[in-house]
């Protein structure tokens, strides 16, 4: 656990702590970044195309152009994150040289390596990674992810997968708190995660890093739902800039995330919004079109 007991690790997790209770918004240019910041986003995620466009247009989705990321960094004062392909440590080196504040090793982009994720402890810049279950989350933390986000199904505008993933992780963690040591050894094998991390979760009932939710959040009530289920902050991708009213919707989702336990405020936030993004029925998607199954 020495990798997780040093000052660099603490400031990586520390920045994730500062983002809790907030909304991180996907943006593709400086103008969108400005709208997100003015609406109260606690950070922005710079990417080439939002997930729903990646889904529609196809082709290889890569790290965004450094020029665009730099323009976004020069435009807003909040933290700027950017995505790299799973396993593409050279893209990550580029983003670290660019001095982005967080790197998302993301299943939304086309994977560069189908066996290995980036060894994130080797970087000074912190990483966030997606996960669908506890084993996956703990493997990413082993590699050095300082923040986990449940994957959901990006670009779908459908909350069902985000709900499935946060419920899965929370219930797997609850279960561990009830088990004896010998059972935890078995769980380590079943979940494919290091025993030391399994033991830590069993003792604390939570992940050793902040756990956020992503992939399908499109409305204020969606944000409130995943926060009530145990997410500590939300990522909104296509949900904002694919809606009919980005600035207003962004503000509404920020408000609902702060007051997620207060239905009256979530109601206020939901009023006078235009149309949400259209959204997809996950059951109509073919296996090859799912983003959540990328990575392991």
């Amino acid at each position: 656990m020495d990798l997780m007991n040093n000052n660099l690790w603490r400031v990586k997790v520390g920045l994730a702590e500062m983002l809790k209770g907030g909304v991180i918004m996907d943006v593709t240019n400086a103008e969108q970044a400005r709208i997100a910041e003015q609406a109260g986003a606690c950070a922005v995620m710079a990417l080439e195309r939002v997930p729903s466009d990646i889904r529609k247009d196809g082709g290889v989705a890569r790290m965004a152009a450094p020029r665009i990321i730099r323009e976004i960094m020069n435009t807003v004062s909040i933290p700027v994150m950017a995505k790299v392909r799973i396993g593409h440590f050279a893209e990550a080196q580029v983003l670290e040289s660019l001095e982005v504040d967080y790197i998302d090793e993301s299943e939304v982009l086309t994977p560069a390596d189908d066996e290995h994720h980036v060894w994130k402890h080797g970087f000074k810049v912190p990483f966030v990674c997606g996960a669908r279950n506890l084993g996956e989350a703990l493997r990413r933390i082993t590699e050095g992810a300082a923040m986990i986000r449940t994957k959901g199904e990006a670009g779908s505008g459908n909350i069902v997968e985000a709900v499935r993933h946060i419920r899965t992780i929370v219930s797997q963690m609850k279960r561990l708190t009830l088990l004896g040591e010998e059972e935890l050894v078995h769980e380590a094998k079943e979940l494919g995660a290091p025993f030391e991390l399994i033991q830590w979760v069993a003792k604390n009932g939570k992940l050793p890093v902040p756990n956020f939710s992503a992939g399908g959040i499109a409305t204020p009530a969606d944000a409130s739902l995943v926060m009530q289920l145990g997410a500590e902050a939300v990522f909104v991708g296509s949900g904002i800039f694919k809606s009919s009213d980005p600035a207003q919707r962004a503000r509404a989702i920020v408000k609902a995330t702060t007051h997620y336990k207060d239905p009256k405020v979530v109601l206020e936030a939901s009023e006078e919004l235009g149309d949400a993004m259209k959204g997809l029925d996950i059951r109509q998607l073919e296996e090859k079109d799912l983003m959540q199954t990328r990575g392991w």
Partner: protein, 190 residues
């Protein structure tokens, strides 16, 4: 005595955990009515632009100013210090202007400049751990402001009357002494 912790966004739970440890009672502040019955308010770390935006929308901005003029105590960490400052640069933004300092946001640079230092404070003789995360720099302080700690030539812990502010995050360390110090300030306020 109850402490209010501004809970719009950020590391408010880390402050709550610290207050739990030292046996202080607290409540989360999200709307003006949450300030009723509290003696001091903690403005936590997080994103000051987000806090400012939501505070203004909820009418909390004015209530917090009123709370100060009624003699309430404040403790700001990082983003909280930005909200308390008289003047904010990098970029310029509105603030509660309760503390006579001028601050530069992200003064050390981006996340890669975040770090943990050991520094001397005037609170005790042993050094104290200071966790800096995308921290602001206090560029200048007014006459009535007492500098309680400096790091790399800049004030990092300051006090003016009932207002205490740090550019680092005592809530992310194990050491409760700065929170204990704030409780003594808030206690005098009541």
């Amino acid at each position: 005595m109850t402490i209010g912790i501004l809970a719009i966004q950020g590391d408010y739970e880390a402050h709550a955990k610290m207050l739990d440890r030292i046996g202080a009672s607290y409540t989360y502040v999200r709307r003006p009515e949450d300030l009723k019955d509290v003696s001091g308010v903690i403005l936590p770390g997080g994103e000051s632009t987000t806090h400012l935006k939501v505070m203004t929308e909820e009418g909390l901005f004015d209530s917090l100013k009123q709370f100060a003029s009624d003699g309430g105590a404040f403790f700001g960490t990082c983003a909280g210090t930005i909200l308390l400052a008289r003047e904010v640069h990098g970029p310029t933004q509105e603030s509660l202007a309760l503390l006579d300092v001028s601050v530069l946001r992200n003064g050390y640079g981006r996340q890669l400049a975040s770090d943990v230092h050991l520094g001397q404070t005037k609170l005790r003789s042993e050094p104290m751990e200071m966790v800096f995360i995308r921290a602001p720099i206090i560029e200048s302080v007014g006459k009535g402001v007492q500098v309680l700690a400096e790091d790399a030539g800049h004030p990092v812990l300051v006090r003016q009357g009932k207002i205490l502010a740090s550019t680092f995050h005592p809530e992310l360390s194990e050491d409760p002494s700065i929170h204990e110090y704030f409780l003594s300030i808030a206690n005098d306020a009541t």
